[in-house]
């Protein structure tokens, strides 16, 4: 696991390096901030080894980001959001139906880098609050888990509409380590710059 993670991260860094060899288009930019809201499709990569009958793993998700964007390529930020990982339905022997849902709220520290005009690559580390809801026979059971060691890698295209507003699209992959949950998401984003 460690080696793969390491090589993955090396590849991400090399990618940053390769892309950064493009003509530096930075003129003079001011230090500013953006608030971004994103929404779109999420897909839980089904790695359940047991109890994966009738799984639904495509949902809509939202994300919220705050970035400090200094004058150069690198930006720092915070991200949160709400994602529905999966829903599993199960028919018990007595014909009753059980349903299990897992949702997650990440809280990540982000580093983002502009590689060429309007294209960005990013990585994030941080916490994830995982909720598991099991429902059967009209009863609901919610259990909560905090995952301490999680990461995200992302690629984004962001187009400035004017001085204050930006729209774009973002692809990102999450790993929530505690339960080895993997998810990717494609989102449309809308940002306000100030």
């Amino acid at each position: 696991m460690g080696r793969k993670l390491f090589i993955t991260l090396v590849l991400v860094c090399f990618t940053l390096a390769v892309f950064s060899q493009q003509k530096d288009s930075v003129k003079v930019r001011l230090n500013h901030y953006t608030l971004t809201v994103g929404g779109g499709w999420t897909h839980f990569i089904n790695n359940l080894e047991y109890g994966d009958k009738n799984i639904q793993n495509n949902f809509a998700g939202v994300s919220f980001k705050f970035y400090w964007e200094p004058e150069y390529r690198v930006s720092l930020g915070l991200e949160s959001g709400y994602y529905h990982l999966f829903k599993v339905k199960y028919q018990a022997k007595d014909n009753s139906t059980a349903e299990i849902n897992r949702t997650v709220v990440p809280l990540l520290l982000l580093v983002r880098m502009r590689v060429v005009d309007n294209f960005y690559l990013g990585a994030g580390i941080g916490l994830a609050f995982i909720n598991n809801k099991a429902s059967s026979g009209g009863k609901e059971l919610i259990t909560k888990t905090t995952s301490m060691s999680n990461y995200e890698v992302s690629g984004a295209y962001i187009y400035p509409l004017n001085k204050y507003f930006l729209v774009g699209g973002e692809c990102k992959v999450f790993r929530f380590a505690n339960l080895n949950d993997w998810m990717y998401s494609i989102q449309a984003t809308f940002a306000v710059k100030f």
Partner: protein, 417 residues
């Protein structure tokens, strides 16, 4: 642009690639490589002759100078001082005894195949006939991983296990039903499969971890939460005791695919299907105490009816469990193991005192426990380092050791004069 695409493809490949934690598989040279099933089983007198302390005359650089050979219900264990051990089966064809299996280093991932034999003139005939001999030479070879054995290993019989040790009422207790997941065993900790497997490692008793489900079923599971260390990845997560027994049975499988056992299933299995002599119910919740006691009593009764020499004790690891026990009617008649002070031991009318090993041998307190009642026992937990195991056996007066490496305890116990 192509290079960039390749980089991205590489990232995705590594991100989504299958990533299993390391396991140590049981080595095999192929489906037709084992001939032990073609041999005839050995009788009890033959097994008793084979047991003993052997000198390693070839292979001592790896396995040390001596090896202990000890039979168990599923085969024969050859164990060394450094955690290396052989899990073997044996049988005979005519007057030749064949011993086949694999070796494993309990402290690392090293493993390999092993094939050995005892020729007719080197003890085979005597063993098969059941007539005693002290001239046994076990010859053979061991290899690495799935490779055919090619490195010489020879064991020369030195002496039998001493009568003092044979007659001692000493318990080799396997942690978490006999072994931990982190030691990369082929079966899951706290499972019925582990209870069966651990006898091959030399255990004579097991420690297990009872909890209680939200609908009041006592089950065996170590951690407080459902996690991927203990279970195959499934849809449930969070506090394991928040779920009903039906939910746990339906949606949770242990890391090697076994079901979580209920306390009742596990005790019934121990009574009916093993030769284990000690079960230590290391209570993980005070709420489970009144639920587990009737199950414990039922299993004790079942063992009695079957003529089994089996001690089943409820562990008292903290004051919450102690208070729950003291609140139980007729608690004095519940066989318990107290991990707390001697005063608590007396208050609970426990039959076993079990301090943490890091407190030392505490021979004076062990003596106090023995003085209170000759049938009282003292065991300590959880001792894993070969040096400390040796010292505790040589210098301490405990009646048993709880360990993750039962073959190391077995070596240092059975080799004592």
């Amino acid at each position: 642009m192509k290079i960039k695409t390749l980089y991205l493809a590489g990232i995705l490949l590594f991100l989504f690639g299958c990533n299993k934690d390391a396991l140590v598989p049981i080595p095999s040279a192929g489906p037709s490589s084992s001939f032990i099933t073609e041999t005839n089983p050995l009788g009890k007198p033959s097994k008793e002759i084979m047991e003993g302390v052997y000198q390693v005359t070839s292979g001592s650089d790896k396995f040390g100078e001596y090896m202990v050979v000890k039979w168990n219900p599923d085969g024969i264990l050859l164990t060394c001082k450094n955690g290396l051990h052989f899990i073997m089966k044996a049988g005979h064809l005519d007057s030749v005894v064949f011993v086949q299996g694999y070796w494993r280093d309990g402290y690392s991932d090293a493993t390999g195949l092993c094939n050995m034999y005892i020729s007719k003139s080197e003890g085979g005939a005597s063993i098969v006939s059941g007539a005693g001999t002290t001239n046994i030479l076990i010859r053979g070879a061991y290899g690495d991983n799935n490779n055919l054995p090619d490195q010489q290993l020879t064991l020369q019989y030195l002496r039998p296990i001493s009568d003092k040790i044979k007659n001692a009422n000493f318990y080799i207790l396997g942690h978490r039903a006999g072994g931990r997941n982190s030691d990369r065993l082929p079966v899951s900790e706290n499972s019925l499969a582990m209870v069966k497997f651990t006898q091959q490692l030399g255990t004579t008793g097991v420690e297990v971890d009872p909890r209680i489900s939200s609908d009041g079923v006592a089950f065996i599971y170590h951690d407080a939460d459902i996690n991927i260390r203990l279970t195959q990845k499934g849809p449930l997560a969070g506090d394991v005791s928040a779920y009903t027994w039906l939910q746990l049975s339906t949606f949770v499988r242990l890391i090697h695919g076994e079901k979580i056992p209920s306390v009742e299933e596990l005790l019934t299995y121990v009574v009916d299907s093993t030769e284990l002599r000690f079960v230590y119910l290391d209570m993980k919740s005070a709420e489970a105490v009144p639920v587990v006691i009737p199950i414990q009593q039922k299993a004790i009764q079942r063992a009695k009816e079957k003529g089994r020499d089996l001690l089943i004790v409820m562990g008292i690891p903290n004051t919450d469990v102690l208070n729950a026990l003291l609140a139980y009617p007729d608690y004095q008649n519940v066989p318990t193991l107290c991990e707390l002070s001697i005063d608590d031991f007396k208050q609970a009318n426990s039959v076993v005192w079990a301090p943490r090993w890091t407190l030392g041998t505490q021979n004076d307190l062990v003596q106090q426990v023995h003085d209170l009642n000759a049938k009282n026992l003292a065991v300590c937990w959880t001792i894993d380092s070969p040096g400390w195991i040796r010292d505790f056996l040589n210098q301490g007066h405990f009646d048993g050791l709880l360990t993750n490496y039962p073959y190391v305890v077995a070596y240092y116990h059975y080799i004592q004069e």
